[in-house]
Amino acid sequence: MFKDSPVILHDSVYQLDNGNTIKFKTLKFYISNIQLLQNDVAVFIEQNSFYLIDVADTSSQNIFLNPKQGISFNKIKFNLGIDSTTNVSGAMGGDLDPTKGMYWTWQSGYINFKMEGTCTTPKNDFEFHLGGYQYPFNSLQKIELTTSLKTNLKIILDLNKFCKAVNFAKQKHIMSPCVDAVTLSQQLANCFSIK
């Protein structure tokens, strides 16, 4: 979402708070290791599951969990990105297949979050490929959200909030594990909420 509008790629224009406008070309990211907790005790863990959420593919935006009937939970936890063990485990399929465009080729590692588009003033293209699994540039984020709902959790990523953290005049291209990738990943983690 961008403020109250769902993000549509390519043509839709979004207004940043500083007056600039922005268009998105690509927006996709990994969600993994989903857990449901009741009073901080895990009641459901989905191991070795990795979801590529792609704004270009609406079906990728629904995740179906299958916990036991009747469990109660008041918190959901998940990773934004791919853990370090998976990053060194060789070729994998499904959403982790390197043809998904979320794997660096010149240096091994998954891109956890990819956002590409154009900013109008100053006019420039931006490419944020946030990833990195090794110290000191580990950009994986653990996200925890409290909820009172039991079914159909609607998790929102507020891109307006994230874009406020980005200085589009200075930061245009992040394409490798680095300090900025870690900082922006941390900012991104604060942009998730439950509606």
């Binding site: 070729a91 297949d97 390197p98 240096q107 594990p177």
Partner: protein
Amino acid sequence: MRKYAIVLLCFFLFAFVINESHFTVPENFPQPVYDFSKNPLTENKILLGRTLFYEPMLSKSNTISCESCHSPFSAFTHIDHALSHGIHDSIGTRNSPALMNLAWQNFFMWDGAVNNLDMQALAPISHPAEMGSTINEVVEKLNASEKYRKLFYNAYGDNTATGENTLKAISQFMLTLVSANSKYDKVMRKELSFTDQEANGYLLFKKNCSSCHTEPLFTNGNFKNNGLPIDLVLKDIGRMKATSNPNDSLKFKVPSLRNIEYSYPYMHDGRFKKLSEVLNHYTNGIQPSNTLATQLNQGIQLSSNEKVDIIAFLLTLSDKEFVFNPKFQYPK
């Protein structure tokens, strides 16, 4: 019931033998680091991988295959080329490494930027000066090919190529490239013995070289700065490129010395054509720097005769059977 059990037992024995024939750990080698359980070798997968290894469709212009820079007769490197060339005659920045005993390697590329054998092929496929393509483009071409649909079906029971099964098949072939039948190995297995000169070279080698070029793989798998003056055009900082850590500046992966006779020129940028030049570097050419390998702080002292003996020993690391193994050649 008994009959069933016997049939089952035979099946397991058969499977065991088949698997063994694809990959055997040489008796003087440690256990491999590659996780075979995630990619168990089969004859048809190896054949697919071997076919892909020799496949020019992996490059954008359908002209360059893996073999272009990794030819079997040179222990899978690109002899006579200091720097390898890719599509449209583009020149890369590093000497293509010889390929062998890859199941024992934790890191790939001179700077270790690749962390798993499966992911290695992505780098040359995508590099603009090598194959200039993408894995998506490669998979698309393979899926449009009747020949590959058949090979994928035979290998995976599914005729669709994916990034995962394409890369894993290439790994399968590369994993079979085991070199462990040199004269050195036969001496270690007490089947042959060294000449006096080779034996002396071996002693000198163990004293001066083996802390990095450790037996039996002839590499310790580490990254070291071996005191080469930096090439002012290439300005290659080595492992620091992959880690951004200044302590890794000018460090490169210690290469195996197996089949060194076949795999000239030497060093990450192929600057030395002869083994004598390499030894002269270690005795006379070490450049001091903060990240220099501690073993080289004092340089290495060797007389001319000692250098000749070391070279005689290094030539015992040549494995003719490996280089001419018909199973590794272009699949007809």
